[in-house]
Amino acid sequence: MFDILQARIHQKHRTIRFPDAPPPPVPDRFRGRPEIDTARCVEGCRACAEACPTNAVAIADGKLPVIDLGRCIFCNDCVQACPQEAIAHSTDYRLAVREHENLVLEPADALVLAEELGKKMKRLLGRSLKLRVVSAGGCGACEADVNVLGTVGWDLGRFGIQYVASPRHADGLLITGPVTQNMKAALLDTYAAMPEPKVVIAVGSCAISGGPFIDHAEVNNGVDSVLPVDLYIPGCPPHPLTILDGLLRLLGRVDDYKTTV
């Protein structure tokens, strides 16, 4: 008993104050939203598009590069390939959006961050969102950073959000992985087992586009090829802050947030 108390004192109270206080700092080398300084782009250069392993960067003839954050695995290959040093990852962790097309960014576009649920859904789920998590081909990284939000450091429960053990208890489905052919049926069964109304959240580049496994015959290219998706959270994996930010935006729990960045 004494040992337990001693350890308790040593470990202290460590739950982050976010969103009431600034979030814990991300590391200096954190690879958040990629940004292209297109003023530096040289006509005819395709280095970034050719280096990108998932074709997240596309350059139409005579045009400037377009980045698809849903395909991006935040890997640094385009940054290293760019002869003009025009690409860099910002340390901005906010990436979640409501519409798939909002993930594709023309150079001049601002990212339209996720808006809150409609009035009726927000009234139903805004203060209590129970999520069933299904990994459908996820590598375990997204799962780990979804899971970490449940630990004492993040304490997701304080927002009324909880991961539940059965789809019967769930208001929403949080999905990771590209949706392998071998998980498609189980995923659709889980969705069907949830009572209406329900939301679907796709976490990570696999769940949004297939990620590194895009266009493999063994996978479907992300959740919205089989189910309607209400929230897209990009990353490989998304940082826990990115996931939390997305969930809180969906629930309208942070009023003072900017909606575009």
Binding site: D28, N76, G140, A141, C142, V148, M183, T190, P212, P240
Partner: protein, 510 residues
């Protein structure tokens, strides 16, 4: 003992010309391989590949001689649609043979439990080991399961979707009340076609496949991949790069071991350590992010070296974090092992004794917990581990306690290793240039990931492109160990047993 000409001897991280690999007829191949395993060698990898214009398939086996630090390679070829199974004489190949059957549509006759491994279509259209119609989808988890019959016997089926935030798999228990007679595990739900993609997709995706094969082992698998490329291109990496890779690999081990000890504590109903370790695991993931910007080590590895260097401020930052992490981990984990109610739940549960580990080819902490001194860093060292040796802790109980306690000992050694390396980081560049891959060669790369041995084998074609890329995650060896450990246990102890192994679904399913 086998004559030298029967096997080609190489070492971890070396390339050999394909033509030098001895080719035997199937009977001789099986006799030599069984003999080597009886003599104490281990099947590190065993796989098929297209024989080329001849149309048949070739089989290649990598045997690990842990005592001498050598890898022994031999090959054979198969014609027709079947071959006599070697499993009855050599249990270690049971899953490898099932995999060969599934990937190439050839039937190992006499295999005692010939079921699909991943419920994927054969790579050779029109050939299927189970004669399933080619126009119908393959349903994962289908087919017969091992059954125990009796009036009071019941079957418990769990998965593929589980209650927690974990990957999918199907578990089928044969029970009498709480008592488990048999557990059969059906996987494949996570199959993403990675091995095939490593050959067919553009080379720029290869490193990212390695990083995403198994998310909690991104450093381990990407190190194994880089080592393959470096061996095949004759690249010499700098000592500084090797040290940074070692640091990253040990951080990965620390984060996972600490997280698992917390989860084991939670499954035993002891919440203090469960809560603390969940957070401390994150602290160690954040240390990896200091190295390379990503909590799971993505971007840290590059063929030829490392993707990121570390400056003095970074070293200082990591040393400070490491010291705090060490104190927090010690406080949380010593509490776990000092609590009698926890020990009562850990001791004598989920037994996997040394002889079974040897027979099944179990690797990693699960083998060391049963007393086997089996660790790639020790037996087949590559990179920094040739210069800096870690102690090899073992325990002799082979139970949940053993698997937990070995991990705690490894945590302490990994922290010491990282601190030593950070204090004496060699000078120099972090990345060397890798040239084209040698055509017609093979390279074997072993890395001791936190779960155990990762084995990557690559074969190149005449143009120096991958012709076959074989990945063996430690989970591939160890899932059978978990099934064994559940025998004669209470079904309510399954979570505890499962977590004490914490095997990867996607690492197995590829």
């Amino acid at each position: 003992m086998t004559a030298p000409s029967e096997l080609l001897t190489t070492r971890n991280g070396e390339a050999v010309a394909l033509e030098k690999i001895p080719r035997h007829d199937l009977a001789a191949f099986q006799r030599i391989a069984s003999g080597a395993v009886e003599g104490g060698q281990r099947v590190a990898s065993f796989f098929g590949y297209d024989a080329g214009e001849l149309g048949g398939i070739d089989l290649l086996m990598v045997l690990a001689n842990d005592e001498d630090g050598q890898l022994n390679i031999l090959s054979t070829s198969i014609e027709g649609n079947s071959f006599p199974s070697m499993t009855p004489d050599c249990n270690q190949v049971h899953l490898f043979e099932r995999e060969i059957a599934e990937q190439f549509g050839v039937r190992p006759e006499g295999h005692p439990w010939l079921k699909p491994v991943r419920y994927q279509a054969s790579w050779r259209p029109g050939r299927d080991a189970w004669n399933r119609p080619g126009n119908q989808p393959i349903v994962p988890g289908s087919g017969d399961f091992y059954r125990v019959e009796g009036d009071e016997i019941h079957e418990v089926a769990v998965g593929p979707v589980h209650a927690g935030v974990i990957e999918p798999g199907h578990f089928r228990f044969q029970c009498h009340g709480e008592h488990v007679f048999h557990l059969e595990i059906a996987l494949g739900y996570q199959h993403r076609g990675v091995e095939k993609a490593l050959v067919e997709q553009p080379a720029k995706r290869a490193l990212h496949y390695a990083e995403n094969l198994c998310g909690d082992t991104a450093i381990g698998h990407s190190t194994a991949y880089c080592q393959v490329v470096e061996a095949l291109s004759g690249c010499r990496k700098t000592v500084r790069a090797q040290a940074l890779r070692g640091i990253a690999l040990e951080f990965e081990r620390l984060a996972n071991h600490i997280g698992d000890l917390g989860a084991l504590s939670g499954d035993a109903g002891f919440l203090p350590t469960a809560s603390y370790c969940g957070r401390i695991r994150g602290d160690f993931l954040n240390m990896t992010a200091v190295l390379c910007g990503n909590r799971f080590g993505r971007g840290m590895l590059r063929p030829g070296g490392a993707g990121y260097d570390l400056d003095d401020a970074g070293i200082e930052d990591l040393l400070t974090r490491l010291e705090a992490g060490e104190k927090d981990a010690a406080s949380a984990i010593e509490l776990l092992f000092d609590t009698p109610s926890v020990l009562a739940r850990f001791e004598g549960i989920g037994l996997l004794p040394a002889d079974v580990c040897r027979e099944l080819g179990i690797v990693g902490p699960a083998a060391r917990a049963a007393g086997l001194e089996r660790d790639v860093r020790h037996d087949h060292p590559s990179g920094i581990y040739r210069f800096a040796q870690l102690p090899l802790p073992t325990w002799n109980s082979g139970d949940v306690f053993g698997r937990a306690f070995v991990r705690w000992l490894e945590i302490k050694h990994s922290i010491t290793f990282i601190r030593d390396q950070l204090h004496a980081l060699p000078a120099g560049d972090v990345r060397a240039v890798t040239g084209p891959l040698k055509p017609g060669h093979l390279a074997v790369s072993l890395i001791e990931g936190w779960r155990g041995e990762l084995c990557h084998v690559a074969l190149t074609d005449a143009q120096g492109k991958f012709r076959r890329y074989k990945v063996t995650d430690p989970s591939f060896h160890n899932w059978a160990g978990l099934a064994y450990a559940l025998r004669d246990q209470q079904i309510s102890d399954f979570p505890l047993c499962n977590k004490s192994f914490n095997l990867s679904y996607c690492g197995h399913d590829l």
